[in-house]
C-alpha cells in the first residue's frame, strides 16, 4: 500500500460525509436561504407557487362542487337555503355597493411624503370595517372574499388578503343596504373624507346586484376545535 492512500482515503471519507450532509440540509432549507438568491430566481419561484396555488384552488372548488352534488337532497351542503352557517363557501349576490379606491393621481410636490398618497392596508381595513358596521353581509376586495380568518396585511408594496397579493386599484364589493352603506362611508369626518384628504381616489356606486365570489382558501382549522361540552348542553 502506497503512503498516499491512507490520507487520501481519509479525505475521501470527509468529502463523502460533507457532501451528503450538505445535500440533505439543502433539501431541507432550500427556502430559508433567500438572501443569497437572485431576485429573478425568486420571481420564478413566486410565479411557480402562485401557479400551484391557483391549480389547488381550482381543485378545491371542483371538490366542493362534487361534495354538494353528492350531498344533494340531504341538505348537507351549504346551498341549503335556510342554512346560513357556511355562506363563506358559496358565491353570494344581492343589492350593495361597489367602492373603488386608488392611489392619488396628483403629482407629488417637493418634500411631500409619497407614503401618504397610496392606499395602505389600514385604509382598506377602516373602509371594510365601516361597511360592516353599516350592515354589510358579505364583503370582497379585488375578488377576495372576506371571512373570519381573512387578513388585510401590509406586504411591502402590495397588500395581502387571504394570503393573496392584491394591488391598487381596489374594488371593494359589499352586499347590504346600499343607501345605509353609502351614507356611512360618505358622512362628514368619515372614511371617504379622510381618504380624499390625502388625494386618494374614492368612488362609490350603489348597485342593485352585486356578486361576491366564494372563499377559495383553506377552511381547515389546525388549532381550533368545537367545544363539545357546550354543544351538547345547548
Amino acid at each position: 500500500m502506497d503512503k498516499w492512500q491512507l490520507p487520501v482515503t481519509v479525505i475521501a471519507l470527509t468529502v463523502g460525509v460533507l457532501l451528503s450532509t450538505q445535500i440533505k440540509s439543502q433539501a431541507g432549507f432550500a427556502l430559508d436561504e433567500l438572501p443569497s438568491r437572485r431576485a429573478e430566481e425568486l420571481v420564478v419561484m413566486l410565479k411557480e407557487s402562485d401557479q400551484q396555488r391557483a391549480d389547488l384552488e381550482r381543485e378545491v372548488s371542483g371538490m366542493r362542487q362534487q361534495i354538494e352534488a353528492l350531498a344533494d337532497g340531504k341538505r348537507l351542503g351549504p346551498m341549503a337555503a335556510e342554512d346560513t352557517s357556511n355562506m363563506d363557501e358559496v358565491p353570494l349576490m344581492g343589492p350593495g355597493v361597489d367602492v373603488t379606491i386608488n392611489d392619488s393621481s396628483k403629482p407629488l410636490e417637493r418634500g411631500e411624503d409619497p407614503n401618504l398618497s397610496i392606499v395602505h392596508n389600514d385604509d382598506l381595513l377602516r373602509l371594510v370595517n365601516e361597511l360592516k358596521s353599516a350592515g354589510a353581509e358579505a364583503v370582497a376586495v379585488n375578488g377576495q372574499r372576506l371571512v373570519d380568518t381573512t387578513e388585510i396585511a401590509c406586504a411591502g408594496s402590495t397588500i395581502l388578503i387571504n394570503r393573496t397579493r392584491v394591488a391598487p386599484p381596489f374594488l371593494v364589493k359589499a352586499i347590504g343596504n346600499p343607501d345605509t352603506m353609502a351614507t356611512a362611508l360618505t358622512m362628514r369626518g368619515g372614511i371617504v373624507e379622510y381618504l380624499q384628504f390625502y388625494g386618494i381616489q374614492v368612488n362609490i356606486a350603489k348597485q342593485s346586484k352585486v356578486v361576491i365570489p366564494a372563499y377559495t382558501g383553506s377552511t381547515i382549522f389546525k388549532y381550533a376545535r368545537p367545544d363539545t361540552a357546550k354543544v351538547t348542553t345547548s
Binding site: D2, A12, L13, T21, S25
Partner: protein
C-alpha cells in the same frame, strides 16, 4: 489499483454516514461547507495525482489542505462581511484545480494501463 477501491469505498461510506446521521448544516454555514467540500475534493485528487507521480509528501498534503481550507473559509467570511460573493473566487479556483488534477490523473492512468 486497490488504492482506488479504498478511496471510492471511503467516499461511499462517507456518503452513507452523512445521509444516515441526524446532523444537518445550518443555512448560514452552507456556503462554508460548499467551499470545504471543494477544498477537500481538490486535496484528495491532488493527493492521488502526486501519489501516482511518486512524489507524495504527507506534510505538503496536510499543510496544503489546511491552508487552502482556511483561506477559502476566510475569503467566504470576508465576502459575507463586505457583501461580495468572494467565496466564488475560492470555488472557481478549486474547480479549475479539480479539473487540472483530474486531467493529470487521467493521463497518468492512460500511460500506465494503455501504452505500457
Amino acid at each position: 489499483m486497490k488504492g482506488f477501491l479504498l478511496v471510492v469505498g471511503a467516499l461511499v461510506v462517507g456518503v452513507l454516514i452523512g445521509a444516515l446521521s441526524p446532523f444537518t448544516i445550518p443555512p448560514a454555514w452552507s456556503k462554508y461547507v460548499a467551499v470545504a467540500i471543494l477544498a477537500a475534493l481538490d486535496t484528495g485528487l491532488g493527493g492521488i495525482r502526486s501519489g501516482m507521480e511518486m512524489r507524495f509528501d504527507l506534510l505538503v498534503f496536510i499543510s496544503g489542505f489546511t491552508a487552502n481550507t482556511l483561506l477559502a473559509a476566510g475569503l467566504t467570511f470576508l465576502g459575507d462581511k463586505l457583501g461580495i460573493d468572494l467565496y466564488l473566487a475560492a470555488i472557481v479556483v478549486f474547480g479549475v484545480r479539480i479539473f487540472e488534477n483530474l486531467a493529470k490523473i487521467r493521463r497518468l492512468l492512460l500511460s500506465r494501463f494503455w501504452t505500457a
